[in-house]
């Protein structure tokens, strides 16, 4: 799915790969989900991907804990590397949603 989005927005291969890696690692840490929604918004050169609902609260700890230190190689560090910003939201008790912001240069 993200591949199609990447093609539509003319993302570079590396940008698309970064975004895919972010989503893959997030879902891997989140564990099995009954249902998952992924929404992608584009605004002023920034691609925002919203993923959820995620049931695992450890995601919050992983993403809202202390900043990564040199040598860390956890979910937070991966996301810090491959996207420009990320955040955790709770939407109507529906569950946790994570947003990933990636500034992209491929968008014409």
């Amino acid at each position: 799915m993200l591949g199609g989005v990447g093609d539509r927005f003319d993302l570079g291969f590396d940008e698309l790969d970064d975004l895919q890696l972010a989503v893959e690692r997030l879902l891997a840490e989140a564990g099995a989900q009954d249902e998952l929604r992924i929404a992608v918004d584009l605004s002023e050169g920034c691609l925002t991907t919203r993923i959820g609902p995620l049931s695992k609260t450890t995601i919050v700890e992983a993403l809202q804990g202390p900043e990564s230190r040199p040598g860390d190689l956890n979910l937070r560090r991966v996301l810090e590397t491959v996207v420009d910003a990320f955040a955790v939201e709770e939407v109507n008790r529906d569950g946790l949603y994570v947003t990933l912001d990636k500034r992209v240069h491929g968008i014409r």
């Binding site: 993302l11 291969f13 560090r77």
Partner: protein
């Protein structure tokens, strides 16, 4: 394949065992009785030539040889861990079927040679070279459309081939990393990485990092500590960008399994 297996196994099993068995047993004792992980790593390093020799038999089936070697290394580690010191058998003799079994299981469960049409495999391989060439020519990473135009295929075909390229990697998008009870990620192939050794986090991460070959550790360090792009890493390490991408995914997944998260 099967016609050459027994011949190769005998040859490989016979060569190093006669001179190395004694010290193998010493290392096995140190590992099993004394819990010395260093002894385990030495055994792995010593018998990696056996793994490589066995892995070569399965080359040319759509998987990079080094990936097959890594899978074979898992089999070697399992053999070391399961080795019964009461038994009077050479480690290589015991390890060979473990290594071959691990490789076969990999191809059966995850191998794209079985699941991915050859056309997609070939397109994936062509794409890897094309991405390098376009990246160099354009001075940036090419888009899907640009890759497709260069290869005279549709964007959909490019995306399909990209997906196929990662299909054999043990991703966890839909399955638990512990879903494969046979998988033992306790690999300890390669040398210590000094940069990670210095890290404050090494107490936590060390076992997981030790499970990776030294080159893969170096790639992770370049990507997540030094902040290099895949393209830059590919140039430095001398492999394709797509290969860097695959190795990063595979390494992260292995580390996650190792950390038991």
């Amino acid at each position: 394949m099967s016609s050459t297996s027994s011949e190769g196994r005998d040859r490989i099993g016979a060569a190093p065992v006669g001179t190395a068995t004694g010290s193998d047993r010493d290392l096995l004792h140190r590992y099993h009785d004394g819990g010395e992980r260093d002894a385990r790593e030495r055994l792995v390093q010593r018998h990696m030539p056996l793994v490589r020799a066995l892995a070569r038999r399965y080359a040319g089936r759509g998987e990079p040889l080094e990936d097959i070697e890594q899978v074979g290394a898992i089999g070697l580690l399992k053999a070391i861990d399961r080795y019964d010191l009461e038994r009077d058998v050479a480690l290589t003799t015991y390890a060979t079927p473990n290594i071959v079994g691990e490789i076969k299981r990999h191809f059966r469960d995850k191998g794209w040679a079985i699941r991915i049409p050859r056309g997609l495999q070939e397109l994936n391989a062509r794409m890897s070279r094309t991405i390098e060439r376009l990246t160099s020519g354009l001075g940036r990473s090419p888009t899907i459309a640009e890759i497709g135009r260069e290869l005279s295929v549709t964007p959909e075909q490019v995306l399909e081939a990209l997906e196929a390229g990662s299909a054999y990697a043990p991703m966890s998008l839909s399955s638990s990393p512990s879903g494969d009870a046979e998988l033992d990620p306790m690999e300890a192939v390669g040398k210590e990485d000094e940069a990670f050794e210095r890290s404050e986090q090494r107490v936590t991460l060390e076992p997981a990092l030790a499970a990776l070959p030294s080159r893969d550790r170096e790639i992770l360090r370049k990507r997540f500590e030094d902040g290099l792009t895949q393209t830059q890493i590919a140039e430095e390490v001398g492999i394709s960008q797509m290969h860097v991408s695959r190795l990063i995914r595979k390494s992260l997944e292995r580390m996650r399994s190792e950390l038991g998260q």
